[in-house]
């Protein structure tokens, strides 16, 4: 057998360390709660409600990102304009801002000291301590992931396809729905999954804007604080299970795309 250089073994060792670093704590946590504890926690109405709320709010954030983010992603992928870099940087801001700061920033416009907050109050929209508030926060943190994924998807479609479609008589709208959308839907789906995966894991920003109603991460934190590790673990397992399902779906979809093209 060919003799490998030390560098090869170094890279392998790094890989093993990283995989262990990720997997050992996760596996330990997933396997430590007893089956009965898991069963008990999934029958707990509060737990179910929190997981459902997490899914529901993250899904809503993804839906909002889809509706508002798709046109923007399209423009960013197709048109070069002055200040485009700036716009892209602004979109990436939520990724780099510390999570509690996001919560505080949102509250500072949603409060009564700000005209937006007063306007929202007048039309009966509450942000602080409400499902709406949670969705706003999750959209804030998830939107960049959706836009970037979909922008990449649009960029992968040759503008010449759209040009040909236009020259054959199709309007811009018709071209979008007959050519661009069918070719980009998979990247949109991936964007939705990325966005909701990010949203479902948010804790820091949500806990500031809405401690109640409780989403799953907040509930895990509360149980940990009040009762300790043993009681927070089963809820955590269920949440991880949900996140893993999302991740798996993403992998399957991207893999499928690679074999097709």
């Amino acid at each position: 057998m060919k003799k490998r250089e030390p560098f090869f073994w170094f890279t392998i060792s790094c890989g093993v360390v990283i995989l262990a670093f990720i997997l050992v704590p996760l596996v330990e946590m997933m396997t430590s709660p007893s089956f009965s504890a898991l069963e008990e926690s999934i029958k707990d109405k509060e737990v179910l409600r929190s997981i459902w709320l997490s899914l529901y709010t993250a899904g809503s954030a993804a839906l909002i990102s889809f509706l508002l983010g798709t046109p923007l992603a399209y423009i960013l992928a197709r048109i070069d304009f002055r200040g485009k870099r700036l716009v892209e940087s602004i979109i990436d801001l939520p990724i780099v801002i510390p999570h509690p700061v996001v919560g505080i920033a949102i509250l500072s416009v949603a409060g009564k000291n700000h005209w937006i907050g007063r306007f929202l109050f007048d039309i009966g929209v509450r942000i602080m301590g409400s499902v709406t508030g949670i969705i706003v926060v999750l959209t804030f943190v998830g939107l960049p992931f959706y836009i970037n994924a979909v922008k990449d998807g649009f960029e992968g479609i040759s503008p010449r396809l759209e040009n040909v479609s236009r020259s054959l008589g199709a309007s811009m709208t018709s071209t979008f729905f007959r050519i661009t959308f069918p070719l980009a839907w998979r990247s949109m789906l991936i964007g939705i999954i990325m966005c909701s995966a990010r949203a479902i894991s948010e804790f820091g920003a949500v806990v500031i804007v809405a401690y109640h109603p409780m989403i799953a991460p907040v509930m895990i934190y509360e149980r940990f604080e009040a009762y300790g590790l043993k009681y927070s673990q089963p809820v955590a397992v269920w949440l991880v299970f949900v996140c893993l399902s999302l991740f798996l779906a993403l992998r399957i979809l991207t893999l499928h795309r690679k074999t097709e093209t």
């Binding site: 396809l161 020259s167 054959l168 199709a170 309007s171 018709s174």
Partner: protein, 345 residues
Amino acid sequence: MIFIENLHINLPGFSLRDISLHVKENEFFILMGPTGSGKTVLLEGISGLVPIRQGKILIGGREVTAMPPEKRGVSLVYQDHALFPHLTVKDNIRYGLRYHPIDKKEGRRRLRLLVEKLDIKHILKRLPLNLSGGEKQRVALARALIVSPQVILLDEPLSALDPVFREEIRNTLKNLQSSSDTTFMMVTHDFAEALALADRAAVINNGTIEQSGSIDDIFLRPRSVFTADFVGMKNIFEGQFRDNRFLVQDVEIMIDRKLDTSKGHIAIRPEDILIGPKVMRSNTRNTFEGRVKNIIDQGFTYEVHVGVRGVVFKSLITKKGLYKMGIQEGDNIPIAFKSASIHSF
């Protein structure tokens, strides 16, 4: 059919300047120029896909300068075919039908006709992904032609194809053009292609039109050094006209006619320059003694560079000719060319 007047297009890093062209109805017009000369941008400008800074475009008597692409009656065919990858060949071809006042029966008739003419019946149900280059190009042509556009714009339709397909598609193009009312405008960087297809043509270089007119005119009477070089006149000399002579350095070349300008250019095709011992006996007026500087193998032919008092003449001869005469680098040989084959400008 197409009138372009004083057109300016500015794109980041590239601009077209002062383009004026006239393409007649149902003719095969070829726009030729090297890579990066602005040919594709001009096609996209005519299609309405890039913003126009200044100037006018008229298609079929209608000013379309500010019209969106879908209203212009211009079909575009790209070099990479740009077939819609998620639609079958049949759906690709039928794509544009719904945007035109064509009823279903007529649509089916046109599809049948094109499919037959382009011989693509066997691939109708397939997706574009696994088609050959020639098949893709035929599908792209069918898709563009089914809506009976006033103008079809072809962006280097042949250059991405294997030589076998290239000739086949070239014949197809010529047939399609003569059997339809559509005006064909094609872009190419290959002058031989232009010679085979074009009625009239234009040479574009660096964002401006160098020359436009009948293909024979461009071929025989280029008006600039660039055009002369592009059409394969490899011997281009700058010098002084004096009566019916032209002076390049110390070499005096006899020409047919007198030119007013004292300074200017002459150009001679390499195949018009004869070399070898026999040429002395011919009655051409320009004969020189030179030394073979270089012999370049070009496949079927050789290009022989002969230096005459510091001026290098390039002559094209067949492989057989070279072997027969046994010419080698460093040999002294006579060269000759007729005054009639000298083009001056």
